[in-house]
């Protein structure tokens, strides 16, 4: 493993209800850098993310965190790993019965012995980082999707994680808010030295923030490198993705009829 890689994914295969979703995925996530996992919808990005955060156990293949196999972690080790990470889920995953401030206070209350007033101040500070300090007493249902996502990011940052995983940060956001979120992720890398892993299909955002890009197509890594290397890649599928070209389906008439009739012709 190269010395600067914090997480090393080796030959990872993943299955979902008997269908293979990831095929021998291999790449590294460098420490203190922004890694973007990119690809079309349904290519296996989110499945890969769920492996990386330990929500889906690794089967064949390995995910090494500081050289230790995540798949072989005991429950205690997995908890220790999760205290090092922050995760922003696609929909924010905020607790609906709590205000934004209470949402952000949850990990602080469980994992620290800080006084309530200190926790309150810290929660408001985190909300301030994402521009939501004026909404600290709002309930998630009173906010827009973008605001919920930013609040989710504030909660993911509550414990000052070493590694931040972000699922589709820009989707559904207006360009100004999306740019603000990109800036925030870069600030986290620069000021706190955070390792950031972003899953996205937003090209502009990806090329703006990425130090390393992993592009996945149909469960396979098709290109891996810095943004310039990805732009220069001659792979047809990569260029199709970068140039936003639609798929052209070649329909086999016989197999199409067979699928309609559910029997061989």
């Amino acid at each position: 493993m190269p010395p600067d890689d914090l997480i090393d994914v080796r030959g990872l295969k993943s299955f979902y209800r008997g269908r293979q979703v990831l095929f021998d995925v291999t790449f590294g996530i460098p420490r203190h850098r922004v890694t973007v996992i990119m690809g079309a919808s349904g290519c296996g990005k989110t499945t890969l993310l769920r492996h990386l955060i330990g929500l889906k156990r690794t089967g064949p293949g390995q995910i090494l965190v500081d050289g230790e196999d995540l798949g072989a972690f005991s429950e205690g080790l997995l908890k220790t790993y999760r205290r090092r990470i922050g995760v922003l889920f696609q929909g924010g995953a905020l607790f609906n019965s709590m205000s934004l401030r209470e949402n952000i206070a949850v990990p602080l209350k469980v994992h620290t012995k800080l006084a309530d007033e200190t926790i309150r101040i810290m929660a408001v500070m985190k909300l301030n980082m994402v521009g939501l300090s004026d909404f600290s007493e709002f309930m998630p249902s009173q906010l827009s999707g973008g605001m919920r996502k930013r609040a989710g990011l504030a909660r993911a940052l509550a414990m000052d994680p070493e590694i931040l995983f972000v699922d589709e940060p820009s989707s559904g956001l207006d360009p100004i808010t999306a740019a603000g979120l990109d800036r925030l992720l870069l600030d986290l890398r620069e000021t706190l030295g955070m390792t950031v892993v972003v899953v996205t299909h937003e090209l502009e955002s990806a090329f703006k923030i990425a130090d390393r890009i992993v592009m996945i197509d149909k469960g396979k890594v098709i290109v891996l490198g810095d943004p310039d290397a990805v732009r220069g890649c001659t792979d047809e599928r990569v260029q199709q993705f970068l140039n936003r070209e639609a798929d052209t389906h070649q329909i086999n008439i016989d197999s199409y009829y067979e699928s309609l009739l559910d029997k061989e012709l």
Partner: protein, 265 residues
Amino acid sequence: MGEWMVKLIGALGAYGIREILSVGRLGIFFLYTLRGIFISPGKFWPVVKHIEFIGTKSFFVIGFTAAFSGMVLGLQGYYTLSKFASEGLLGSAVALTLIRELGPVLTALMVSGRAGSAITAEIGIMRIEEQIDALDCMAIDPYAYLITPRFIACIIALPMLTAFCDVVGIFGGYAIGVDLLGVSAGAFWDGVYSSVVWKDVYMGIIKSLVFAVLIIWICTYKGYYSGVDEGSFGPEQVSRATTDAVVISSISILVSDYVITSIML
């Protein structure tokens, strides 16, 4: 024909395996919930909050149900006993029926329908919105945080509600028997005091404790695993889980009532 048989046997086998796995998972869920008692965060205020939801907010519906059940018992009991010129035993009949059987069963059924269904829906929504995954990723034990407080609250609240139901029901029977149909008040209360022994009260308490465990176990389990078996997480899965939770917990209450009665009588 042969292919049809193979498919049938395969489907039955798959169903059997799924059900066996489900029973195993139910057991593990129960053990994790018990383990949650000893894991942070603190349980006091969450338990108080859930007692308010399960207990206090059920008072009206249980009081209403108990009053009318007691009144019906008074009415039916009076006309049955009057055939044997034994109207004086009305107090015994009403009190024993309520304390031994109707009080615990009616209370449990009402709590299952009102609070149990709400708990299943709430936890189910948390599952489909990735809020439970978010807890996992914050290194917070979802059992200790979500399930255990509800479990403790239900075990505390249900016996209290049962006692309330018994008392209101006896007064309902009194109102009909004594005030409306002219049974002597002294005979009514004498019947209650002379016939109800501590064993009847214990039986009622034991039943309500068993029902509390069954209700909260089934309802939280169904919510927690909403959509997990189907592999799809949407409103349909939550609504199905809620229906299943109420139906299964109601059947479990009635079956266990018979078993406990047959053991303790």
